[in-house]
């Protein structure tokens, strides 16, 4: 089951932010590998509407179950829709869900986590109590429950995944902030009567961005997978709008004759997932000198 790493990912030691860091990140071998996997996928997905292939929603029942050919590089499905086109459209949906859900979860999580970590005391206690209750649910279960509540559909899925990821993010951000809070330069800033918000913005948050990026890439991979699982079960994106998950579902009855309908989107998920994992490892390694192999 390819949900994200079990347990807490190993975090790099926290660096002071610097510009050359970006160059270092981009230059790192793993990142190059990951990006070279990911960027073409994203590009393909984006330019898909302009490609000279049949539109994803166009049906043509007379031309169903065609084998792969020049007209239809990956064949057609049960009602004559071009499979490649649908997979590319599915890419757009899945990637969209993945990035938007993760980004939102991280944004909210960072906000609340920083708040909890910095304010401490009862605010922290309250937030963490709620977080702990959410974390008493295994991840996917929570998402499924949310989807049961909100129903199927694009934004419902995004909301469900976001809400499921927020508790973990809060906890992570909070522990980062707590460990930063005790560093000498924070004390120095406070002794110089720097306002709390300034300290937060200038010192604390920038140092949490790197670990968050590491974790964030994994969240995206996880979100894509979750969406696919949900859509596969009929609980996510509603057909005819394609997503990798529901394409796999649609292909299920035809596994024997047209196996590619179900198999290829799955491979696409694996490839994107691998790319994201490489990026995550790459960012982690490039920012933590002690972990360079």
């Amino acid at each position: 089951m390819a949900i994200t790493h079990a347990g807490v990912p190993r975090l790099p030691s926290l660096p002071v932010p610097d510009v050359s860091g970006l160059r270092r990140i981009l230059g790192h071998r793993r990142n190059v590998l990951g990006l070279s996997i990911l960027l073409p996928c994203i590009t393909l997905a984006v330019v898909a509407p302009w490609l000279p292939i049949q539109a994803p929603l166009d049906t043509n029942p007379t031309a169903s179950f065609l084998s792969p050919s020049l007209d239809h590089p990956l064949g057609t499905d049960s009602i004559g829709r071009d499979v490649l086109s649908r997979i590319l459209a599915g890419a757009r949906t899945s990637l969209f869900v993945g990035f938007v859900a993760s980004f939102s979860a991280i944004a909210v999580g960072m906000l609340l986590g920083t708040f909890a970590g910095f304010m401490g005391r009862s605010v922290d206690g309250l937030i963490m109590m709620v977080v702990d209750i959410f974390l008493a649910f295994p991840g996917l279960l929570l998402t499924i429950a949310m989807v049961a509540v909100f129903g199927a559909g694009l934004w419902q899925v995004i909301l469900a995944i976001t809400i499921s990821d927020i508790p973990r993010t809060i906890r992570l951000q909070r522990s980062l902030v707590l460990s930063l809070k005790s560093r000498p330069y924070i004390d120095a800033a406070r002794m110089a009567h720097a306002p709390t918000s300034w300290v937060l913005i200038r010192h604390v948050i920038p140092n949490t961005i790197a670990p968050m990026l590491v974790v964030g890439s994994l969240y995206v991979a996880n979100a894509i997978l979750t969406e696919a699982s949900l859509s596969f079960l009929g609980l996510g994106i509603v057909p005819p709008e394609p997503s990798w998950g529901n394409i796999i579902r649609e292909g299920q009855p035809y596994l024997q004759n047209a196996w590619w309908i179900s198999t290829i989107p799955g491979l696409a998920i694996v490839v994107v997932s691998l790319g994201l994992h490489f990026i995550s490892d790459g960012i982690r390694e490039s920012l933590d000198p002690s972990m360079r192999s």
Binding site: M1, I133, P138, L233, G234, S262, P265
Partner: protein, 315 residues
């Protein structure tokens, strides 16, 4: 020791209560009227009213909550909106399959990962690293595969093409061999993720332990290699493995829901998914609660195991 267990158990009560509260609130989180939503489009007002009654939505919020908790504690989860059976009966029917698959999966995972990881670590420590590196890469790749997709691929390969394993569905409790054949493929799919991560953790852990000074001390006194491995190394290496395994339970639970559904195994996961698709709210509510409580319980057990195994942890 029993005192410790009891103490930990008591600590869990707030968590359990919180979980129940969250599940309770979820139904009420539905935008608009829950009853209407559950009823669907083509229903009359009268039918919606009936549903409202059934779900107890006419009582005050506080009363609803109290009723809910009181009922849950007595394991009364109401009746299914679809079949009108008591939910608790449905759970009882579905539980054995889920437990069987979960338990076997755990067994399989550990039976494969620990020896595999240990062998890899031993090879790596002696410099014969190629097999080890290959394995790491393979497990990492396997870990990325979406479970449900892998399920389909394996079903395609083993059931449809090769016909080795029958398509599942009916649990033939009386015939163990046939039963095992039926659940073989789902079991494999469910366990792969766990095998991938636990064998990696085992490898890292054993490798680290082999470099420790006390291993050197044992060897310096002439302890035979087999003793060094089993008595000294593994006993220490297993500690982080227990922790990681505990964290992996969540994946196991969630994964099982999907796998059961795909393979039509009559377990709790299938019931849950069907209930969600059919908007059978009482069933959904009850099952989510049960799953969450199972997770909490598993974490407690992992904690206790760890305490037993590591003498440095103060009770």
């Amino acid at each position: 020791m029993t005192g410790y267990v009891a103490g930990k158990g008591l600590q869990l009560i707030p968590t359990v209560l919180g979980v129940m509260t969250l599940v309770f609130l979820m139904l009420r989180l539905i935008p608009g009227d829950p009853a209407t939503y559950i009823a669907g489009e083509a229903t009359t007002q009268a039918q919606i009213e009936i549903i409202r009654e059934r779900l107890g939505l006419n009582a005050s919020f506080g009363a609803q909550y109290v009723n809910y908790v009181a009922d849950a504690v007595q394991l009364d989860f109401g009746r299914s909106l679809v079949t009108n059976r008591p939910v608790i009966d449905m759970i009882e029917d579905a539980l054995p399959a889920t437990l069987l698959i979960g338990f076997l999966s755990l067994l399989l995972t550990f039976a494969i990962s620990v020896p595999l990881g240990t062998v890899c670590a031993l090879l790596a420590s002696q410099g014969k690293g190629t097999f080890d590196q290959v394995l790491i890469f393979v497990t990492m790749a396997l870990d990325q595969l979406p479970g449900f997709w892998l399920a389909l691929v394996l079903m395609l390969a083993f059931t449809l093409h090769l016909g080795w394993f029958p398509a599942t569905g009916v649990m033939e409790w009386g015939d163990p061999i046939s039963l095992l054949k039926r659940i073989a493929v789902p079991l494999i799919v469910l366990s792969i993720g766990g095998i991938a991560s636990i064998s990696r953790v085992t490898r890292t852990s054993v490798l680290e332990v082999l470099n420790e000074d006390y291993i050197r001390s044992a060897r310096a006194m002439g302890t035979p290699d087999r003793s060094v491995l089993f008595k000294h190394a593994l006993r220490n290496a297993l500690l982080p493995i227990v922790t990681i395994a505990g964290l992996g339970f969540g994946r196991l639970l969630s994964g099982a829901i999907i796998i059961e559904s795909i393979f039509s195994i009559p377990g709790m996961g299938t019931v849950l998914i069907r209930a969600i698709q059919g908007r059978d709210y009482p069933v959904v509510q009850a099952l989510v609660l049960i799953y969450a409580l199972m997770f909490v319980m598993m974490n407690l057990i992992t904690d206790l195991i760890y305490t037993k195994v590591d003498p440095r942890v103060k009770l």
